[in-house]
Symmetry: C2
């Protein structure tokens, strides 16, 4: 830990004193960057994920170019079902596709247990390489999809509007859903533990599709397995972040999963959420990603609103409320990072003056 | 009012005593019904909207076939921008399309004021005809899109994931957005007033895209104009329902717009919402639409959960948390209506025994 030159992000996760609010951006290693697109021209998306040199290169780009306070290893949540034996394609116009989705017991029987050291070696190698190249400048985050979110993709097979197949499964064959979710929870916990062993300083669980469930279904099919993953992760002091999009109804329960940080989308009021669960966990978020379509003045105004909403003291990691959009001007992302660095000092009182970073 | 044989829906809107909970289903006149599809074979979607005989016919189908306690006039929220002069197409694979979206002052200048008696005569005629054919069996609901939701379609021009253009407009040219929203609020209020004059017993404002905004943007760009519409509707005792999808953060403010009923999506806990705003307004909703993919036992279990969540007494109108899906088995919709009729009596105590309907 002591080797990190900038550990603001990790201190904020633990609500230790900080001199300013740290910022990173979901999907910061992505298509809005020219430098990313240049790498992407050389290799398709899956090849990029599977080639440690390329994955490490794009992981570090936003640290150099945008100035964020944490890197997140470039990868995809769907490498886990792929490692379980599912054929996985990334089709430019459609997004991720599983040509043979899981719809019944027979399909599920073919899912293999995951041994990250073997099946996901390339991610661990990318982590080691990125760590080395970062050279302690900022912490490195590892991530995985929540079991529920992975199940959604595995059952639907492709982008979905109404999530017909996975909803049919939980209502008409909940036993099958639970058996796959349990398998996924074990795989995800092993995978995140292996990433920690390989050197990541924190992990984030993306529950992208938690918000399509009713509160009671969320508890049964998503929350339960997030808790299982967190309890099975082997870690020392690496914080766990849970980002559960649209799950406004179960924040209190999310804060009791063992997570250190809860990520929030832009429909949540940070001040209200802090009052509710801010004593138990740190909060991450939550600027509307489309604010980056605006000019610098508007971005400053909106970023200040977010900072002001959380208020004084540690425990806030600035981020967007969802991934950065591909058509955002990178200069505006850069401006946001600079704005947060400047405007957040006043929320950290004496620390800002003493530590003066 | 006295002429209605079944006015449960209207009494529930006003929180007057009822003997059982009324039910209707958003998009109940729709593609899941064979009988609807037969009419649809004869005419395209827009022609159906514009032909009072066809619109009235499909409006009444779910009353006959499914047994709902209210009819809602078959139409589309986008007839209003169409009446303002925008060319509107319904393309099977893409949904609604405006080939010339509104992106700047010049585009907006061409928007005409709406005179419903002239430009939307066909909807008013459909209302009169449906009323006549319903012959007082159940109340008839009229509807419109909220100004914000209409603006979203008019600016995007077609289905959107990130709502790039409308977000750019509110951040970079809020003055233009407000001027169109103001025009839309006037048009929507006039349109709903004309529908009331033509005979509808209640109106619903669909704020389908309110949930894509942050709480403060929602207040500025959607809530304000919903309030304006409600205050300008000329009505006697016809209730106003507001369905604002995903707007968990501003329920209290929604309940102060003058609305009589707030519609809720399936991510809300009815019991919590009732505690918060149930003294001011009635609540409508909120079964997850995908529950209708399940069998009758599961549907009963989930419907009872919704009834139980609202609890005893009047002020609840049963509905799905969003429109019924096109691939739902109509037998399951029928089963749901029957289940709600049976299972809801216990929540209305003495009234059920006395009135015995």
């Amino acid at each position: 830990m002591s080797k990190l030159k900038n550990d603001l992000f990790l201190r904020a996760c633990r609500k230790e004193p900080i001199e300013r609010t740290p910022i990173w951006i979901m999907r910061q290693a992505g298509r809005y960057l020219q430098e990313y697109k240049k790498v992407r021209e050389k290799a398709d998306f899956i090849t990029m994920c599977q080639t440690p040199e390329l994955a490490a290169e794009v992981t570090i780009q936003p640290v150099d170019i945008i100035g964020v306070d944490a890197a997140i290893i470039f990868s995809d949540i769907l490498v886990v079902p792929q490692a379980m034996g599912m054929e996985f394609q990334m089709i430019e116009s459609k997004g991720p596709v599983f040509p043979q989705p899981i719809r019944n017991e027979d399909d599920a029987r073919n899912l293999k247990d995951v041994d990250p050291e073997k099946n996901l070696r390339y991610v661990l190698d990318a982590v080691s390489l990125a760590k080395k190249e970062l050279d302690g400048r900022v912490p490195l985050i590892g991530f995985a999809g929540s079991p529920w979110t992975l199940l959604t993709y595995m059952v639907e097979g492709r982008g979905s509007k109404n999530f017909t197949y996975v909803k049919k499964m939980i209502y008409n064959n909940p036993k099958l859903a639970h058996s796959i979710l349990d398998k996924l929870a074990t795989a995800v916990a092993k995978y995140l533990s292996a990433k920690i062993d390989a050197g990541v300083n924190a992990v984030q669980i993306f529950d992208t599709w938690g918000g399509i469930l009713s509160p009671s279904d969320f508890e049964e099919f998503s929350l339960r397995y997030i808790s299982q993953v967190i309890s099975e992760i082997k870690r020392k002091e690496e914080p766990v972040i849970v980002f559960s999009k649209g799950v406004h109804h179960s924040l209190d329960k999310l804060s009791s999963t063992g997570a250190d940080v809860i990520g929030l989308d832009w429909t949540m009021n940070l001040d209200e959420v802090r009052k509710k669960i801010g004593r138990k966990v740190a909060l991450q978020g939550n600027l509307d990603p489309t604010v980056l379509y605006a000019g610098e003045n508007k971005i400053r105004e909106e970023a200040k609103k977010v900072l002001d909403s959380y208020g004084e003291g540690s425990g806030h990691i600035f981020n967007l409320g969802h991934g950065i959009l591909p058509d955002v001007d990178p200069e505006m992302a850069k401006a946001l990072v600079q704005i947060v660095k400047e405007e957040s000092r006043v929320f950290h009182g004496k620390n800002a003056e003493i530590l003066g970073q």
